[in-house]
Structure formats: C-alpha cells, structure tokens
Amino acid sequence: MSDADYRPIHFLHIGKTGGTVVNGALEDRLDECRVPGAGCHCIYTSIA
C-alpha cells in the first residue's frame, strides 16, 4: 500500500477519561486496522 491508501485515525487523549487504557490498547493495533467502507488502512496518532 502507498501512503495515499492510509487513513489517519486520531485519538484525542483527554486526561482522566479512560484515555490511558484506551490508548494503550490501540496504539500498537491501529496501524493494522481497516475502517469498514473506507477501503484503507489506518495510521494511529495520539494527541495528548
């Protein structure tokens, strides 16, 4: 896949909302995920 095939998914890590555990579960996984209908993989970024 080229970079153009990737769709970013951003996680806004709002403090004290469960963000640490969600971020921990996602950060190593979203580079392999696929959004239904999007037809592309996702690049994951976390914005604290």
């Binding site: 769709r7 970013p8 998914i9 951003h10 996680f11 806004l12 890590h13 709002i14 403090g15 004290k16 909302t17 469960g18 963000g19 640490t20 555990v21 969600v22 921990g24 579960a25 996602l26 996984r29 979203l30 392999e32 995920c33 696929r34 959004v35 239904p36 996702c42 914005i47």
Partner: protein
C-alpha cells in the same frame, strides 16, 4: 482537535465531570504514581499542602480564600474538555469528523464497539496500573456540599456533554 487535519477522523473519551475532578485530584496528589511519576508544579504543591482530599478542596470552593486558586493550580483538575475541543462553533464544524465518543463509565462496551468499527481485535488491560486506576486507599467520595460547590466550576463541562448528546455522539 485543532491538531487534527480537517476531514480526518478522531476518537476521544469523556466521563462525568465530577468523577473526572475526583480522579484528576487523586492522580495529581500521588503525582500520577505508580504508572507515572510527574513531579508537582510549585502551585500544585501549595494546593496539596492545603487540601488533602478532593472533597476538602471542593467544600472550600466559594468559602475559603485561595480555594479557587488551588483548584485552578492542579493539572487535570483545571483542564477542560474545551482545551481539546476548542469551542462550540469549532466543534460543531468538525462533528462529522468524530468517529466515536467513548464513555468512561461503560468503557469496555464502548471500546468493543470501537474495535468493531475499526475492524480490529483488541482488549483493554485489566492491570490496575496499566489502567491508571486510583488506588483503593484514596478518598473518592464527595460530600453534598462539595458536589454543590463544584457545579458552577464544571458548568462548561456539562455543556459539552449536553452538546454531545444533542449531536447523538
């Protein structure tokens, strides 16, 4: 949110603002330990020297000189959803980019739903340190007076949650 390019999707989690206040106070009072170890800012040290529990601080709001300063000195306590989501107009303009909003109170269920949308198999850790949970020896209850005093300070936080509900997010 302003760091996310327009048209790119984003996810975030929210929780009841009073619960967030309690969690934030206790997190900073232990310097984020054991998961983190972030030293107090001088203003935080002053706040915790005066108020040792979330209820003590909240009860003092509007009653003791310096209580509001202490409230605004503690990271997490002083932060707002709007720090991430800018303002109502900006958020409304970006609402179509919100992939999902998770609720901390039903995090396991919402996370499973998110994974289904993303097409991945992932689980949340059950390790209390990994979850950054408040240790059992910290006080997490608030008196009725403390809750009442907090309401005006958290009004904008509830406004944001109401906005999410109005948008079915």
């Amino acid at each position: 949110m302003s760091d996310v390019p327009v048209g790119e999707q984003f996810v975030f989690a929210v929780r009841d603002p009073i619960e967030r206040f309690v969690s934030g106070f206790n997190s900073r009072s232990r310097k984020g330990r054991p998961r983190y170890d972030e030293q107090w800012l001088p203003r935080e040290a002053a706040a915790f020297a005066r108020y040792s529990t979330p209820s003590a601080l909240a009860e003092a709001l509007g009653r003791e000189e310096g209580a509001e300063k202490a409230y605004r000195s503690i990271r997490h306590v002083s932060s707002s959803y709007w720090d991430w989501l800018d303002d109502e107009q900006s958020f409304l303009a970006r609402s179509s980019d919100v992939l999902m909003v998770l609720r901390q109170g039903r995090l396991e269920e919402d996370f499973e739903r998110l994974c289904n949308v993303l097409g991945i198999a992932a689980t949340l850790t059950s390790d209390p340190v990994g979850r950054h949970e408040t240790p059992a020896n910290f006080k997490t209850t608030l008196t009725p007076a403390a809750v009442q005093n907090l309401r005006p300070f958290l009004a904008r936080e509830y406004d944001f949650l109401d906005l999410l509900e109005s948008l079915d997010l």
